[in-house]
Subunit: 221 residues, 2 copies
DNA sequence: ATATAATTCCATCAAATGATGGAAACACAT
DNA sequence: ATGTGTTTCCATCATTTGATGGAATTATAT
């Protein structure tokens, strides 16, 4: 109950929670430098100083936003893991894509912020942790990419990153891609799921079957 | 020979070209709002007003940067297409991944800016075109996803986007991912190629072979 | 009802930022 | 050398932006 973030999470009707919610969306849309404290305050309908009263500096608010969405995503992935546990791999993947995609389309700011974290720089470097997120190892294990949660091969981490990013890309890029392809929201979502299944399932579900006669070096040279 | 961009491309030693080069990198790293005209000018080693003299408003410079990287990327993809033409599909993919990845690791600002275009918003909306880039249809045809360049199925466009974005992700995310996985640059690049092959080749190279007994609805339900 | 603490807003600051006018410096043809 | 057009920099503006002090308001406990 110490930090503002914990207070916000405890009472979703509190002003802290309202601000956090708006801040998530705004930072997600415009990035750190693209979002001003005034934009957030205006959107919430409060004075800018009220925002500072609750969250302190802009960097602190941003940091809380990052912690918050990481927490939400983690929770969702745990939930998914419980549902797919014990199923055969292809089915696990299919369900996971379905659930995660639906969830992220409801909270697109999560994908936005995750990608900003990965690809963007801030003028003043932040001191947020750079360590391999827990959920990456969890997913890796869930995808049969490794046995124990402790020793994850690098290639397994890379594959999980590729998978997660593919999903985030389509969520974050909805505005751009959907306009480009002239699709309605529902159509787009359906196409996203179809595409993700097309790309991901063969790879993780024994994709080598289709090309056993071609070795790696041969492919590139 | 009319626009500043054309002048800059004509003479790579001109001040316009120098500024453009730095602007590409900076906008790529920090995004539109994260980059100030002063940052660019300082990095070039000129006064800020010299920058304005050559490129006008910040938005104009940014627009030129976007046009420039799209042009470069397009050119590279044409080059790749010529090399892989006529090869069997798996090999085409392998070579394309290899070449494109190498190129983008040399010009990571291209990936950065492409992703910013897709995922980020600017406070004032830009008037840059939203149409399906030509190269998407070219790639689609090259991957046997459609017959003619004119009628591209939506799913084909989606698959091409998924493929391109997967590559961009690893380029743009190098700082974050490489630090996270404690890899040297060369190791990282090699892992990226391996991962991209792992993910992409099975899907486009008849990935259905491994799961012909599982129909779509079955996978998700 | 009154005292105390928590919350909100108004006014304001200092620094950062986009942008420009005009003087100096430079290039170069005649 | 002189004149012309180009390029560069210095000084300066108006806005925007992050941030804060302090008064006013509201909630809460006694």
């Amino acid at each position: 109950m110490a930090t503002p973030l914990e207070k916000a999470r405890k009472d979703p009707n509190s002003m802290k929670a309202k601000i956090l919610k708006v801040a998530r969306r705004m930072f997600g849309e415009y990035g750190y430098h693209g979002t001003t404290t005034r934009m957030i305050a205006k959107e919430v309908g409060i004075d800018i100083s009220t925002l500072y009263y609750h969250w302190g500096e802009k960097t602190d608010l941003y940091e809380s936003v990052i912690l918050d969405i990481n927490n939400d995503l983690r929770q969702k992935l745990d939930e998914v893991e419980k549902v797919i546990h014990g199923q055969p791999l292809a089915r696990r993947l299919g369900i996971a894509i379905d659930m995660v995609t639906d969830y992220l389309f409801e909270c697109p700011e999560i994908s936005n912020l995750v990608l900003f974290q990965y690809f963007g720089k801030t003028r003043k470097e932040s001191n947020l942790d750079f360590h391999v997120p827990d959920f990456i190892s969890d997913i890796a294990r869930s995808m049969d990419l490794c046995k124990t949660k402790e020793s994850i091969p690098t290639s397994a981490s890379m594959r999980v990153l590729a998978m997660m990013n593919s999903i985030h890309n389509f969520i974050s890029g909805e505005n751009f891609f959907r306009e480009m392809l002239k699709l309605k929201r529902e159509e787009y979502i359906e196409h996203v799921k179809e595409t993700l299944e097309f790309i991901l399932i063969p790879a993780f579900n024994g994709g080598s079957q289709g090309q056993t006669d071609i070795n790696q070096t041969d492919i590139r040279r």
